[in-house]
Symmetry: C2
Subunit: 204 residues, 2 copies
Amino acid sequence: MRYHKIPDETIKRMPTYLRGAMRLSEQDVKSISSKELAALLGVNPWQIRKDFSYFGEFGTPGVGYNIEKLLTHIRKILKLDVVRKAALVGAGNLGSALLAFPRFGTYSLEIAAAFDIDKRKIGKKKHGVLIENISAIKTLGQRSIDLGIISVPRGAAQEIADKLVEAGIRGILNLSPQHVTVPKNVKVITIDIAKGLARLPYYV
Amino acid sequence: MRYHKIPDETIKRMPTYLRGAMRLSEQDVKSISSKELAALLGVNPWQIRKDFSYFGEFGTPGVGYNIEKLLTHIRKILKLDVVRKAALVGAGNLGSALLAFPRFGTYSLEIAAAFDIDKRKIGKKKHGVLIENISAIKTLGQRSIDLGIISVPRGAAQEIADKLVEAGIRGILNLSPQHVTVPKNVKVITIDIAKGLARLPYYV
């Protein structure tokens, strides 16, 4: 089956649906209505129906969505039906926390390499992952690692993005506050925790 | 000046504009065009013009936006013109990383309290912040702290959200993968780093 023209906003919600389906599967739930799933995940039922419509009809009226089919579809769409390896650049406080993150495995994601410039860190393991010299980024292409995570200070982010792209990385999670410029065939997702907190007072 | 009816999506971009304006101010730049600002921040110029139009006209045709006015406006809108204090719940790997986060201060945000259930952590300081027993959350109302950060495992997230709301917290940054339910007058912003990485392979 081919999937096409799925909007970014739908893709953004997919990991939430996947996580929900995984939890329901663990609880041996066989099917769920869009209404129930919506309540569980905190999204709108119509949003779920709209999003799921992009990958064909597999809901049964009056019964709901089959959980196992849902899992299979979403994993295929997100290309998480195989383990995806990521390289972390920057093993500071946030980077180290990510190395210990139990949640990545849930999505078949694995941080398979970590890089830093700090000589006191290089050669040592953190949470089971060896910290390598940043110059070794160029070996990533030969190591079946195609995702990169930038967790370095703002000033170094663009340089690291360039190095990752040069090494053949096509997907980057940027956790630095710096907007990074990459070629069109590379996807960057930026998550800035400080900016998340910074827009809360507006609502308080 | 009163600002009203600003869409959530505009508020979402505001911290990025604020950060950009701060950097330009540090570099002694007096004014900037929407086009230049767009290139710097990686957003569309029309988006900037649209977003800024919500808080009145202060751009000058041919000259651009006055940086100092921009800073004043955005800080007022985001209510970041005074220091805003946040309480962190969960001083694990990610929580501890946040205590060391230099970026919060940039936005006049301060983690002024931290809570955990781990007796080995309680009573000790991490990055200058005392870790308190989780039972002390109820004292937050009297401590001028009105923001909360949830950095606990999924299973505990809803309970912590309830405790924060009970203590009078009206804005919550939820870093757990659990959707939390709160009263209508409480704002929750959820950031899930694992979900960010999980949607990257789709594009690769």
